[in-house]
Structure formats: structure tokens, C-alpha cells
């Protein structure tokens, strides 16, 4: 599936997601890196040594969900934009997602944009909570959106109309 279409299967997605308990405790990274390629900036980006790939740079990253503080430093550093943050501690009905988004126009805080799945299909409206684009993110802005909990494993992208 993934290698034919670019869309990971549900099983693959669930495999890289932390447990619901961990998600409900506070922000944590989700690393959707399913293919062994020579790459390790996520490891160097993490100040808490929460991401590990071992001796071979081709290994897949492993996230230590206890060490991960959800700081988000890895999100804009991943050249494949494969990392996002999820946080289920703020509300029982929604999840906060922090996703990288390198397109114009950027969404505006306080507005509603279209929430998309991994095929780019519209699934639900989402609230834009924060738009961060500091120099240290090097032109990979990180957008915080609040998404209905039912779309925890589906939501992955946004579309900004206008």
C-alpha cells in the first residue's frame, strides 16, 4: 500500500502511535517514518535523547515515549516532514495536533480550516489554535489545530482556503 500509493495502512499508523494513556498525559511525538533511509536529524534535534536509531543511520527512529516531552523540536527538523505532535490532555473530546505546513497562505489563529486525512481528503473542520514560524524552524511553520478525537488516527493535514 504505502510503497504503491504513499498512504500507510491503519496498522502501520497504529504501530507508531503512542498509547492513549500516554497521549492523554500530554504532548508527545508521532514519527511516521516507515522506510529505512540514511537520515538522522530527528536524533540530533532531540535534547532529551528520546529518539534513537542505533549505530546504523539507515535504521528507523525509535521514540522513548517516557523521555519525550512533546517539545516539538523534531517536527520542523525532519526533512521528510514525517513527525507531528499529539496532545490529548486538554480535552476529553478533542486532540491537539501540531503539524508542519510549508504552504501559503498560512492559516490564521482562531479560524477554522479543513482537516484532511492521509489521502488529502476532507474529513472534518478543525480549529487553528496556534501558528508558529520562528527563525529556528527554518521556514517549516508548525500549526496547532484542535481536532475531534474520533479522527485521532485519520487526521494528518489541513487545507487553507482563500
Amino acid at each position: 500500500m504505502l510503497e504503491k500509493t504513499g498512504i500507510p495502512t491503519e496498522e502501520m499508523i497504529k504501530e507508531v502511535f503512542p498509547s492513549i494513556d500516554r497521549i492523554n498525559k500530554g504532548p508527545v511525538a508521532v514519527i511516521e517514518c516507515y522506510q529505512k533511509i540514511p537520515c538522522n536529524p530527528c536524533v540530533t534535534a532531540c535534547r532529551f535523547n528520546a529518539i534513537n536509531i542505533g549505530d546504523d543511520i539507515n535504521n528507523l527512529p525509535e521514540l522513548d515515549i517516557e523521555k519525550c516531552t512533546g517539545c516539538g523540536m523534531c517536527v520542523s527538523k525532519c526533512p521528510g516532514l514525517s513527525i507531528m505532535l499529539i496532545d490529548g490532555s486538554k480535552s476529553e473530546s478533542t486532540i491537539l495536533f501540531k503539524i508542519p505546513y510549508e504552504f501559503l497562505p498560512l492559516p490564521e489563529e482562531g479560524t477554522i480550516v479543513k482537516g484532511l486525512n492521509r489521502k488529502g481528503e476532507y474529513i472534518t473542520d478543525v480549529d487553528v489554535i496556534k501558528v508558529l514560524n520562528p527563525k529556528s524552524f527554518d521556514r517549516t511553520p508548525v500549526i496547532t489545530v484542535e481536532v475531534d478525537r474520533n479522527y485521532l488516527y485519520e487526521f494528518r493535514n489541513i487545507r487553507v482556503e482563500g
Binding site: P38, N58, G120
Partner: protein, 361 residues
């Protein structure tokens, strides 16, 4: 006749790194670049690179270009740069001829040469493939990222390797609609993280598909695609039409190898390295003494590998003509290890196989 110690042909990622490495070893180098500025194809790479910190991972190609040029500027007294100058011949007596703009020929005699000429984009055979609007994917990248000009409004991308995927993403960043990405192979050839980030923007990736024909009078108006069977043959009745004004061809690169053939280097066709490449030793020296190579000319790979090959080749070329870097062994091992790392995974396996085919002692 101009006399230099090391002539480096091409000022892209491989050539720049070779120059930095050779100059830091103490050799005097001349970079001959046909473009009006240094950087090669780095100047249009707006995406972040993969690899490790040593290959500037997570930094955008356009910024790596400036980092390398800055590094090079530290060796001002050792480095001469000739831009707008195209090398047109390399002869048995070691003489290089080059043309400055369209104005004058220059003869250069050097103790050693590093050929880092890069690659060119392949094309694909189908009816009307010569219509304006059908461009190399790299060409479209130049047009939009160097000159800020959109290639058109609706694009069909042919090829799902890294270039096809990256350029599709960059087209969307420039505000151009990408209708679909095709690839004749059963699997996506590029990094899957690239594929996923385009797919979640809503662009379908169609493996086992190819172009049947292009339609248009003066320029491209429509493209007809079809599905391929397991023997790569078109399946009748699967044709689909796309209203597009641009088609990008991204079906691979070929090494720009003419100068090496002319110079008499022993060459071999190696499919894993995407074409006719020179036999070379561990130091990247070809079968012609003091003629070294680095980057895509010695086999198509990622720019990360081209940079490491440049550093290695520059180091070894300098050593060959009597400028041994004080940390020669340490640096050489480091570069060899970096190359091994980049090629040791599943995606680099074919490169590793290919390099075995051309390695000589």
C-alpha cells in the same frame, strides 16, 4: 596556456567540496564552472536534505550552497574560480580547453583534474513527446525556484523517484496544481516520506502507469496515460485523459561523461549507477593517472553522497600531487565511512552493487 595544480570541472556540490578539500590540503585549485555562478543544482533545492549532520542534513539545498561557498572563501589565496566557462575538451597531453562565454577559447594545463560535471535529465519516448510544455522536472525546478516563473497551471508528473516527488511538492508550494504523479514501476522509487507528504495534499500517485501520448498543436494541451501490465506493456482500455499544460519528465539522470570518454578513461555501463561511468579506485582516480572524479559523473546518487565524494576526491587528488593533509588518513576513513553509511541501507543497496562493478585497484 594557463598552468594550475588542480583543475576542477564543475562547481556543483561535488566540485565545491573537492575544492574545499584540496585547498585545505594546501593545493592550488581552479574551479571551471559553465554557469554564471557556483552551486550547480543546489541553487534550486528548496527542500531539506537527508543524511547526517556531516552532509548538512535538515538544511535546505539552497542554504547548503551558501555554506559551501563560504567555506571555500576561507581559502581565497588557494582557489581561483572561472564562471561562464565551459570545458569543451580534455586531451591526452593533459591539456584542457574551455570556452569563456561565446567569446574566447582558453587552454589550461594542470597537474591533476577532478571531473565533477554532474548529470543530465533523461527523456521518455511517446508520441508528441517534443511538444513545448513537456519539460524535464529539473528544468521546471530551475524555472520556478531560480527565476520565480510558473511553468503553467496544471501539471502531470511522470516519475515517482525523489526528483519527481520533490518537484511535485515544490510545484504546489509555487501555487501550481499537480494532477497526478505516474510511475511505470510497480513501486514508488523515491523516499516514501516524500510520497506521503504529497499524497496528503491530495495528489494521486499512480504506479504501473505510463504516458501513452501527448496531445497538442503548438504546445501541450492534453496527456493520455494508461496502466501497464506486469511485463510493462500498456493495458488496452485503461486510458485516462488529463487536461494539463505541463508534463514533467522525471525518469532519471545520466552521468555527463563525455570528457572522460574523450580523455581515454576506461568506462563501463552500469545500470545501478544509471549509465556509462568511469572505472575508478578507492580514491576516485580513474584509469587515467591524475584524472579523478566526484559526484554524479561517477554514478547517479543523492547530492549528500556527491558532497562526500567531492571531499574524498579533493583530499586524494591533493595527496597525489604532493599535498598530503596532516589528517589525511583520519579524513579519508571518515569520508569512506560516510559513503558506506549512505549506501548501506535498502535504498542505497543498488549503488553499493554498482560501485563494486567499477572499483579497480
Amino acid at each position: 596556456m594557463k598552468h594550475v595544480e588542480i583543475a576542477i570541472i564543475g562547481g556543483g556540490p561535488a566540485g565545491l567540496c573537492a575544492a574545499i578539500s584540496a585547498a585545505s590540503s594546501g593545493a592550488n585549485v581552479l574551479i571551471i564552472e559553465r554557469n554564471n555562478k557556483l552551486g550547480g543544482q543546489l541553487v534550486k533545492q528548496t527542500h531539506m536534505f537527508f543524511g547526517s549532520e556531516k552532509q548538512y542534513a535538515s538544511t535546505r539545498g539552497i542554504d547548503i550552497c551558501n555554506i559551501l561557498i563560504n567555506k571555500l572563501s576561507k581559502f581565497k589565496d588557494k582557489v581561483e574560480i572561472m564562471t561562464d566557462t565551459t570545458v569543451v575538451g580534455m586531451y591526452e597531453d593533459g591539456v584542457i580547453t574551455a570556452m569563456y562565454k561565446e567569446e574566447k577559447y582558453i587552454k589550461i594545463k594542470s597537474e591533476a583534474v577532478i571531473a565533477a560535471t554532474g548529470a543530465f535529465e533523461k527523456t521518455l519516448a511517446f508520441p508528441n513527446n517534443d511538444l513545448p510544455g513537456i519539460y524535464g522536472a529539473g528544468a521546471v525546478q530551475t524555472l520556478m525556484n531560480v527565476y520565480g516563473v510558473k511553468p503553467g497551471n496544471k501539471v502531470l508528473m511522470v516519475g515517482a523517484g525523489n526528483i519527481g516527488l520533490i518537484v511535485s511538492y515544490q510545484l504546489m508550494q509555487a501555487g501550481v496544481e499537480v494532477k497526478a504523479i505516474l510511475d511505470a514501476a510497480p513501486k514508488i522509487g523515491g523516499y516514501l516520506v516524500h510520497a506521503s507528504k504529497i499524497r496528503r495534499m491530495g495528489v494521486p500517485i499512480l504506479t504501473r502507469h505510463s504516458v501513452k501520448e501527448a496531445i497538442g498543436k503548438e504546445y501541450l494541451e492534453k496527456a493520455v496515460i494508461c496502466e501497464l501490465d506486469e511485463k510493462w506493456q500498456p493495458i488496452e482500455g485503461t486510458e485516462k485523459e488529463f487536461d494539463v499544460d505541463v508534463m514533467c519528465i522525471s525518469v532519471g539522470l545520466s552521468p555527463l561523461n563525455e570528457l572522460l570518454v574523450m580523455r581515454g578513461c576506461e568506462m563501463k555501463y552500469v545500470p545501478q549507477l544509471s549509465g556509462l561511468v568511469p572505472l575508478r579506485d578507492e580514491n576516485y582516480e580513474t584509469t587515467v593517472g591524475n584524472v579523478f572524479v566526484a559526484g554524479d559523473i561517477s554514478g547517479i546518487e543523492e547530492a549528500s553522497s556527491a558532497m562526500v565524494e567531492g571531499y574524498l576526491s579533493g583530499l586524494c587528488t591533493a595527496e597525489k600531487i604532493g599535498y598530503k593533509h596532516e589528517k589525511f588518513e583520519e579524513l579519508k576513513n571518515d569520508y569512506l565511512n560516510q559513503l558506506d553509511d549512505l549506501r548501506s541501507g535498502a535504498v542505497g543497496k543498488h549503488i553499493l552493487e554498482g560501485t563494486k562493478e567499477i572499483l579497480v585497484n
